[in-house]
Symmetry: D3
Subunit: 275 residues, 6 copies
Amino acid sequence: MRLAMSLLVSVMVSVGVLAQTATLKLEPVERQMPPYIQERLNANDRVLFDKLMRVGIESAWSLVTAEGYPQNFINELTPLKPHYRMVGRARTMRYLPNRKDVRAKLYGAGPQLNYKSAEEAQPGDILVFDAGGEMRAGVSGGVTTIRFLVRGGAGMVIDGAMRDVPELEAMHIQTYMRRGHASSVSPIMMSVDYQVPVRIGSVTVVPGDILVGDTTGILVIPADIVEKVANTALEHDEQEEFQRDLLLKGESIYDVYPMNAATKKRYEEHRKLKR
Amino acid sequence: MRLAMSLLVSVMVSVGVLAQTATLKLEPVERQMPPYIQERLNANDRVLFDKLMRVGIESAWSLVTAEGYPQNFINELTPLKPHYRMVGRARTMRYLPNRKDVRAKLYGAGPQLNYKSAEEAQPGDILVFDAGGEMRAGVSGGVTTIRFLVRGGAGMVIDGAMRDVPELEAMHIQTYMRRGHASSVSPIMMSVDYQVPVRIGSVTVVPGDILVGDTTGILVIPADIVEKVANTALEHDEQEEFQRDLLLKGESIYDVYPMNAATKKRYEEHRKLKR
Amino acid sequence: MRLAMSLLVSVMVSVGVLAQTATLKLEPVERQMPPYIQERLNANDRVLFDKLMRVGIESAWSLVTAEGYPQNFINELTPLKPHYRMVGRARTMRYLPNRKDVRAKLYGAGPQLNYKSAEEAQPGDILVFDAGGEMRAGVSGGVTTIRFLVRGGAGMVIDGAMRDVPELEAMHIQTYMRRGHASSVSPIMMSVDYQVPVRIGSVTVVPGDILVGDTTGILVIPADIVEKVANTALEHDEQEEFQRDLLLKGESIYDVYPMNAATKKRYEEHRKLKR
Amino acid sequence: MRLAMSLLVSVMVSVGVLAQTATLKLEPVERQMPPYIQERLNANDRVLFDKLMRVGIESAWSLVTAEGYPQNFINELTPLKPHYRMVGRARTMRYLPNRKDVRAKLYGAGPQLNYKSAEEAQPGDILVFDAGGEMRAGVSGGVTTIRFLVRGGAGMVIDGAMRDVPELEAMHIQTYMRRGHASSVSPIMMSVDYQVPVRIGSVTVVPGDILVGDTTGILVIPADIVEKVANTALEHDEQEEFQRDLLLKGESIYDVYPMNAATKKRYEEHRKLKR
Amino acid sequence: MRLAMSLLVSVMVSVGVLAQTATLKLEPVERQMPPYIQERLNANDRVLFDKLMRVGIESAWSLVTAEGYPQNFINELTPLKPHYRMVGRARTMRYLPNRKDVRAKLYGAGPQLNYKSAEEAQPGDILVFDAGGEMRAGVSGGVTTIRFLVRGGAGMVIDGAMRDVPELEAMHIQTYMRRGHASSVSPIMMSVDYQVPVRIGSVTVVPGDILVGDTTGILVIPADIVEKVANTALEHDEQEEFQRDLLLKGESIYDVYPMNAATKKRYEEHRKLKR
Amino acid sequence: MRLAMSLLVSVMVSVGVLAQTATLKLEPVERQMPPYIQERLNANDRVLFDKLMRVGIESAWSLVTAEGYPQNFINELTPLKPHYRMVGRARTMRYLPNRKDVRAKLYGAGPQLNYKSAEEAQPGDILVFDAGGEMRAGVSGGVTTIRFLVRGGAGMVIDGAMRDVPELEAMHIQTYMRRGHASSVSPIMMSVDYQVPVRIGSVTVVPGDILVGDTTGILVIPADIVEKVANTALEHDEQEEFQRDLLLKGESIYDVYPMNAATKKRYEEHRKLKR
């Protein structure tokens, strides 16, 4: 689905015989990358992420599936903020149930991974925590996330729990998680792997994947195909917007979606006019 | 429960010795059928649905149960919009896991049922999708729902998933579902039956049932008894409003709810005065 | 985590070479006891509950755990109101599946416990209903809760379901529960025990426990240690606020959280200045 | 259902034209109270429990429900032993999540309840542990159960986990539970209440209830009505056995179950002959 | 997988230097249609079902999937009998949550569907009950199933619960279900549709489908393709048996599974010899 | 718990006044490493694994926990074989949801990991598959497991599903899993990592860990502490066996478990005599 960001779609519809005066108004969904992040992106990402802010996630899903990735949609997690589109690049971490010996080895070798990932984050990054769905301990929290925000972080996806939920809710980025928990990561969990393929819900997320999320869920787009997906989906959205307008004017869905021959012709003319 | 739509219940209460100046204010809950739908309803439905917009769902539940329907409340689904009352008439569809042979037969015989139901919807209808709780595929989405809106649709109840969740959230109707999913209905699911009894959560919904939903859940009222339920419940709500007022004034719950003899007498007087 | 209630933390950050003008703004979280409750509290509770309104739940969790209570956090229930901190004292009830013989004995001996607890509630009390997670019947509802509000009630925690959810949402207190249900408590459940230890999620709650809840979950603090926890946590929060400020200014998390020697020195100076 | 213990029901059936020689053989289900328990029962229990060993749980369920107890069947737990009927009297315990302060108080006052219940058990008792479904810690184990066995214990029902599962499987009593766990009860759980009403699955079990369990689940019979239930159910089973025989002989279910007038007459004659 | 029914695969293996005398013995799995059913089947079914008794369910699954049915495997239900292969033809029923009005209409029009299906069953039929996963009420039980047995019934698949579990366990057919329950179908459920497509787990089962089940789960084969699937799978199993033999002799899996060129050649020779 | 393998514990008990002749007989649990595996073990493992075949899992759990590993018990999986003790060394694999690009890279670099692990297995190894709990696809099956058996494999632990369940049930090793599925691993899953730390249930398993499993669950013992755990647990079991004998003789649990001073003295004497 795609709703233009700048237009208020609002029409008068008359289907009955009596005077009907109420308008059918579809509220546009506001979607833009927060300026703080946007101005830190490199030129390529700024263009790409802007497209992905506007694209229909459903159109993009069709294209990602057509490219051979039918399992790339996450809908098991809950977004903290309503009405918010998240776009960014996956930086992944893998957590496991805590064990004294493994922890001693790993934590002796370097900082815990929520620290490391916040410190090394690039503008437009999304931190992806695979905590195996564990809900009895938070894997990170507000303070570490402030460092991530300053670095230009664009979102967080946690298959598990987080501390400081009200603080996260007040931030300008989206966070997807299962639940909150006030505990520290110890003694239930420990961070194990950095920038490896991980499992979120029933999707494998690879470092560098581009994630596009809203309240429907999160689409995981392999970096190789993201340009193609973004461009083709926008074209498809343009057509869908035309179809939505016809439906709002009261035309039958059988003529419009999918388009019959006559509607297709009208659409071709509409496109010519628009250019 | 019933909260008058037009009154702001707000009282001063003093239970301590010190000066207590804070008021106990109960915010009224706004509840009205969206004008676009309302003016398309026939005369009977306009009156009936207006009553059901105001009725206490709990009072109505008691009456529906007393009529022999103790299993008619759905609370397994999540409403997309907060603070919203849905009232309308069930138009049902049954979905099953996709199968090549069954799909070929059914889809050869007519349009997919989310199309058909949107096209044939009458003002005040609620689309009811029994998708068996499946969360790996959306059964319908934004574009089809626009056609439904234009027709005067009043709500959607999906035991499964939907596409285009932000678009649905922005509409003037309520949608109850389990989760979002960006996928098309294929290849996981297919529509099978139209206007048959279906299962939503642990309730059988029959075409023509009247549904009344808010954030507590959805009450399913057989059409035969809906007038009686609406009228009797409104009477009961009138009494409950009196009881609420007494409680807000600081009276003991033991005298008021249920009413003892003295309170009953006061209520009789109150009713006479009101008329 | 702790966000000062009165300050708007908002800074200019420059990490790139190009002109970057967007500010990193953290919205403060509003947290105060509703005046109606506050002015009914006794002097001790007023001071204590005010501290707990400001304290970081995560800091407090660490201290509660350090005191020997590692299992005292509830995150299985859903709060009805976003952005809301609940503080109060547990008044507990235990419900069991309904049984004719037990019910006859108990209900002959006195009022149902949701009535009794509303009537006997003291200002700042939180009603805690252990309904074993049952979601097929509401254990209490709006009318009874009005009596509780008038008495100065500060919140409700239900391991089960409640009636009248929109009415509860409109109240000035927080309610945590699993789901709504329009039914009365009968015939599925019955109240059995009053002011005994109960199970909520995977936590034992004892009458008199102090509960502190927000959207992360609910911390259960034994009354014996609550003063110590509140005071120590506030001190810890003061340090964390300093750390947040440094991070917002762009310092590395490795220097700040935890603080290295240099940062510790700066913090000592900061504290002297503040006094 | 009821299968006679001593008879092998085995018949020749011919429904086709060709020679059919295979017999339809229903294996009888062996059901008897283990002798060790039986000879320790008092005279009344020996008679009553023997009846309940033979009764159809389904017939008994109908009668228990008709007496006003429609919620008295437990089917959420797994029996350790196949092909085994458990009959006995409930001795109940309530466990809660561990908490230092509550534990100190309770464990100072007397032994842990799995010890106490094993020591105080009477012949024919069934230990009923309400552990709230917790599966991360065993509430009791093999050693304590040996003491229970010596005392004449007849079964165990645990809404939670047990240690020493292979040892329990090898005993001559049935154990119903959710899962095994090798841990001790600490530090996750603690015993709190002895011989109080408890919740198992979605059923309230009261001390003194008579439990009858097999692989279908566990029927909970209030002591007041157990004689009546046992006697009436056995009568009903006698009729059902007659019906089974007719069905095995190839008669139509429409004539037999429920019985039409002709079949009823035959049954009356059958009963006269039997006496 | 396929294990010959008549051969005991048992070999001596030496991989170490020391004397190793233990044999690697694979117990053959006994699989045959019970004679009572077999002799009542028509000629075609007798041949077909015999093949399906021997076929590898995994080989058959691959072929069913290759034919366009990737969703046709049920693994959500529990078989009552271990070590048992079920083969037969689906006779379907759909149950819904009970509702007074719908029940009155349906039950006035004819017998409850568990009766009807038992009475009308043909030899080799499998009763398939779609009860929506409901576990609070049994949809059928032992007495009705005796009529089904006499008719030559070959199995039962219930997405829900059954009465009389020990009796069902003692029968010569397999039953798959979620749980047992001693209750009658009323007042929770009612039978609604007969011989329509239904949902079991996440699979659509159509009347006339051929079901093949063991402890791995149940493969649902559309009638149109069952001959092809059975024959091709048996061929594939023959090859797999050769591969198993090589592995048992200690050959490397890299040469054998899949077969490299040399192994393929040996297999061709092996086939020639066998004929 | 510990039950001696060679002794049949069977005693006469008299607690009543009447003649009681039934014996309290505890069936010993047979536990030995299958000879085929045993004779392939190296000398150290043969001794160690023999101890672990006899040790009480509960005693060992206490010691593992005391060494700092309180989270090392798996009870979320189902063992295929009843009455069976599994002992061996973990060889781990990690599976993720299938993705075309990752799969292409990994499968180009070497064989799928169920093949590789079967081929490289050492005598006494246990294959540990972390499939994230996925139940819609089998990660391995019968043929590959035959290669593993020939190599001396001692067990399999799958947090997911397996093909060929009846074949696995017939083998001389134990398999723990969630469910069966007839499908191949594709297209739902793919193998990703070999011999890395993995998550099974809520436990981290590291390559080389020693696993000890029965129907209670699986204890995960770090290799560093396994000798100490085995020896100390056997000592503790010796004492528990003494306690069991006293209980079987009818002594009070209060004197015996834990032992009071008098019982301790008797135990010391018993030990002296035994040596």
